[in-house]
Amino acid sequence: MVKFLAQRVILSLFVVLAVTLIVAFAIRLTGDPALMLTQGAGSITEADLARIRAALGLNQPFFVQYANFLKGFITLDLGKSFLGGTPVATLVGKALPATLLLALSSLALSIILSIPLGIAAAVKKGKWADQAIRVLSLLGLSFPNFWLAMMMVLLFSITLRWLPPSGMEGILSFIMPTLTMGIILTATNVRLVRTTMLETLQSQFVMVARAKGLSERVVLYKHALRNGAIPLITYFGLQFGGLLGGIVVVERVFNWPGMGTLAFDAVAARDYPVLQSVICILSLLIVGVNLLVDIAYGIVDPRIRRD
C-alpha cells in the first residue's frame, strides 16, 4: 500500500507539472498582455509595448519565466497579477474558498438526494416510483446547466425577488448555484446508485441478511449500501474533479467570485501569473482528491488494503 501510494504521489506531481507547463506555454501563444493593458489607449508604439513587457518580466525566455513561476509556487510566492499588481495569493485566497464551498455544497446536495432516491428506485424497480425517478433523472440530465441557471434566476430573482441573481453574499446566494450544479449531478448519480444497488441487492449476502430476519432498513443501509459504496466513492471522487472544471460556467452565470471566474478573467486579460497559479492549484486539488479516493478505497474495502 505504501509503495502504491508513493507511486501515485509521484505520478500525480508529474501530472500537475505537465498541466502547468502546457497551460503556461499555450497562453503565451494566444497574445500579448501588454496589448490587453492598453486597450483604452488607441495609439501605442512598439517601444511602449516593449517597456511594459520588460516591466512584467516577459522579455525573458519562456523556460526562465516558467522556472521562476515554479520556484515562486513552491516557496508560496505566487507573484502579482498583471492587472494592477494585486498579489495572486490575495486573489486565490478569496476565490478558492468560494469555489470549494460551492463544489462541496453541490456534491453534498447531490449525495443527499441521489442515495435515497437511487435506493428507492432500485427497491421499487419497475414500479411507478422507479419510473418517475428515472424520468426526472433524464430531465435533469437534459438541462444544460447555464439554461437551468437562467431559468432559476428568472423565477426566483426577477419574478419572485426571493434570491439575489448573482454574487456571493450570505446564505441565500448559495441556493441557486448549488441547485444548478446539484440537480445535474443528482441526475447522473441517481442512475449510478440505482444500478449499483440493483446489482448488490441480488447478491447472496443480501439474501442471507434478509433470511436472518434483519429489518429492511438495516439490510439496505448497513449491508447493501456499504458494499455498493465502493464504485460510488470512486465516482463521487472523480466527479469532484469534474465539478471543479465544470464550475466555470456556473460561476460566470452567477458572478460567483471563485476560481472559475478568476481563471476566465485571467484568460481574457492574458494575466499569466493568475492563470498559472489557478490551474496549478486546481490540478493539485483534482489529483489530490483522486489520491484520497484511492485511500478511501482501502478503508471501505479491506481486500484492497491487503493487496
Binding site: D32, L35, L37, G42, L83, G84, I158, L163, P164, S166
Partner: protein
C-alpha cells in the same frame, strides 16, 4: 430514516425562503453600477482600461476636463496659455481645492504627479508614452505651473483631462507607498474611496469638500459583472441601477425596454468599424474594385436591421465627436448597378473570390459580415468569411500583412482626435498599415502633428479623411453606440460616449 422523506427537506427549505425575501439593494441616495471589468489597480498610471476610467473619473480630476459633450474645459486648472510656439503651456491652478485625505492641492502636487508619471514608476505602465511630449514641469508659484514640451503636442490638453494625467496626492503616496495607493485611491474628485474588494466591487461616498460642491448621491457602488445576462438580471431584480458598456448586447435591448422601470440610453461611442482592404494583393489592388465593393453593400440597411439602429453610418474612419470630422463628407451611397459596371470595367469576372478576415469573438459582427457577403454575391463576388482569434489577428495576421482581401478593423481612442486613428492606419510602416506606402499621405500626416493652430490642423485632418476615402482604403461601416441600461429611478444621467462616468449631478429617487 425513511428513504423517500429526505428530498422533502430541501424543497421545504426553499419554500420557507419566501419569508426571507432578498430585497433589492437600492437604498436611498445610493447608486449601484455594474461594470464588466476590475482593472486591479486604481492608480492612474497603472492601466489604460476603459473600465478604470468609468470608476476613477469620479475619484480624480485632471488639469482640464472633458465631459460627455466632448467639449474641453477647465478642471483643476482654471485657465492656460500656450506659449513659445506650442512648446510651453502655463497653467493657472484652481484655489481652495483639497484632496480627499485633507492634503491641499497646489503646484507641487501637479509637479509630483507628472514627475511620477514620466519617471521610473510611470515607465513600467502603459500611460507613459501618452505624455512623453512633456519634458518637465516647473513650479512658478503655488498656483502656477509651466509645462515645457519637447515638441508641440496638439492633443496634450485633451490628454490632461483623463487617465494618466489625473492629479495624485504627493504626501499620501509618499507616506503610504505605491502598493497601498493602488488599492486605496485618493484624488480631488467628487467621490471619496471607501472600500475595494478585488473582482467583486468598489465602494465610494460623496466627498463633502469637493471643490465643485457636494455630489447629490451619498454613496456610489460599482460591482464587477462580466456576463451580460447576469448584469441585466441584477438590473431587472432592482439590485443594480446602471449597466455600463461594453456589456449590453443589441439583442437584449428590447428585453430591457419592455420593463416599465428600465430603459436603454445610447449615444454614439468611440468605436468605429471598417473592413479594410488588402491593397497589395488580389483583386482589391484595383481602386475600381475597392469602390465597387463599397457600393455593393447597403450599409444603412445593415445598421437598421442587424444593429437595431444602434450605430451611425460614417464617411471617414471616425465618428462625429472626433476632432477632424467633416460633416460635409457623406458615405458612399449603395449602388449595385454602378458596382457591377466598375467591376466589369476592372475586368473582374463574376464568381471572383475574396476572403474577409474577422475576429471570432463578436457574433453581431459575424452577422454583419454574412450580410455583406450576400450583398457581394449579388454583384458576382463570392466572399468567404474567416474568423481568427482576436489576439492572433491583431498581433500576427494584420501587422505581418497576411490578411485576405478584406479584414476587420475596430478602432477608437478616448482622445477623440483623428490623428490617433489616421496616423496609425495610413502612415507607412505603422503596425496597422501593412500594405500602403504613400509619401503624399505620410507628409500630410506628419505635418499636422507639430501645428498648434487648431483650425489649420482640423483642415489637414479633414483633408486626410477625404484623401483616404478617395483612395478607398477601407469599406467604412459604422460608428457603434455606447449602450447603457438604466433604472428609471436614476435622474440626470447623461451618457458619456467614452464610458468615463462622472456622476456628480446624478441622483436617485
Amino acid at each position: 430514516m425513511l428513504a423517500l422523506k429526505k428530498p422533502l427537506v430541501p424543497i421545504m427549505a426553499l419554500a420557507l425562503l419566501g419569508i426571507f425575501a432578498a430585497g433589492p439593494a437600492a437604498a436611498q441616495g445610493t447608486l449601484v453600477v455594474s461594470s464588466p471589468q476590475d482593472p486591479g489597480s486604481w492608480d492612474p498610471i497603472d492601466t489604460f482600461l476603459v473600465n478604470w476610467a468609468s470608476v476613477a473619473t469620479n475619484i480624480y480630476d485632471g488639469l482640464t476636463y472633458r465631459g460627455p459633450d466632448g467639449k474641453l474645459g477647465p478642471g483643476l486648472a482654471t485657465k492656460w496659455d500656450v506659449l513659445d510656439n506650442g512648446t510651453r503651456v502655463r497653467f493657472y491652478l484652481r484655489k481652495g481645492v483639497v484632496f480627499q485625505d485633507g492634503e491641499p492641492f497646489n503646484a507641487a502636487a501637479v509637479k509630483f504627479t507628472f514627475d511620477r508619471l514620466l519617471g521610473p514608476e510611470g515607465a513600467k505602465g502603459p500611460q507613459f508614452s501618452n505624455y512623453n511630449a512633456i519634458e518637465s514641469v516647473k513650479v512658478i508659484d503655488d498656483f502656477t505651473v509651466d509645462f515645457k514640451l519637447k515638441k508641440p503636442d496638439p492633443v496634450l490638453l485633451v490628454k490632461l483631462g483623463g487617465y494618466g494625467a489625473m492629479i495624485v496626492p504627493p504626501r499620501y503616496i509618499q507616506e503610504k507607498g505605491e502598493d497601498w495607493f493602488n488599492t486605496h485611491p485618493v484624488g480631488t474628485g467628487p467621490f471619496k474611496f471607501v472600500s475595494y474588494e478585488p473582482k467583486i466591487g468598489i465602494k465610494l461616498e460623496a466627498f463633502d469638500k469637493f471643490w465643485g460642491g457636494r455630489p447629490k448621491l451619498d454613496k456610489l457602488e460599482y460591482r464587477f459583472i462580466t456576463e451580460p445576462a447576469t448584469a441585466v438580471a441584477e438590473l431587472q431584480a432592482g439590485r443594480v441601477d446602471l449597466v455600463i458598456p461594453p456589456t449590453i448586447p443589441i439583442g437584449m435591448i428590447s428585453t430591457i425596454n419592455s420593463s416599465p422601470n428600465l430603459k436603454v440610453v445610447s449615444v454614439p461611442g468611440l468605436t468605429v468599424l471598417a473592413l479594410r482592404f488588402n491593397t497589395a494583393h488580389g483583386i482589391t489592388q484595383d481602386l475600381r474594385v475597392r469602390k465597387a465593393i463599397i457600393m455593393a453593400v447597403d450599409r444603412d440597411a445593415i445598421i437598421k436591421t442587424i444593429l437595431g439602429g444602434q450605430a451611425i453610418p460614417i464617411a471617414s474612419f471616425q465618428g462625429p465627436l472626433s476632432f477632424g470630422f467633416d460633416p460635409s463628407m457623406k458615405p458612399v451611397p449603395y449602388d449595385p448597378k454602378q458596382a457591377k459596371a466598375l467591376l466589369a470595367e476592372a475586368g473582374v469576372k463574376p464568381g471572383a473570390q475574396i476572403q474577409i478576415d474577422i475576429r471570432n469573438n463578436d457574433e453581431t459582427f459575424l452577422e454583419v459580415n454574412q450580410a455583406i457577403a450576400s450583398y457581394l454575391k449579388q454583384v458576382g463576388i463570392n466572399a468567404t468569411i474567416k474568423p481568427y482569434e482576436t489576439n492572433y489577428m491583431l498581433n500576427d495576421i494584420i501587422p505581418n500583412g497576411k490578411t485576405g482581401e478584406m479584414f476587420q478593423q475596430a478602432w477608437g481612442g478616448w482622445t477623440l482626435d483623428f490623428d490617433n486613428t489616421a496616423y496609425l492606419m495610413y502612415h507607412s510602416g505603422e503596425k496597422w498599415n501593412p500594405y500602403e506606402k504613400d509619401p503624399k499621405l505620410d507628409a500630410l500626416l506628419e505635418s499636422q502633428r507639430s501645428i498648434t493652430d487648431v483650425a489649420k490642423r482640423e483642415q489637414i485632418l479633414q483633408e486626410i479623411a477625404r484623401y483616404s476615402a478617395d483612395h478607398a482604403y477601407e469599406m467604412l461601416l459604422y460608428n457603434l453606440n455606447s449602450i447603457y441600461a438604466i433604472n428609471t429611478r436614476v435622474k440626470n444621467f447623461v451618457a458619456p460616449p467614452d464610458s468615463r462616468l462622472r456622476l456628480t449631478d446624478v441622483s436617485v429617487e
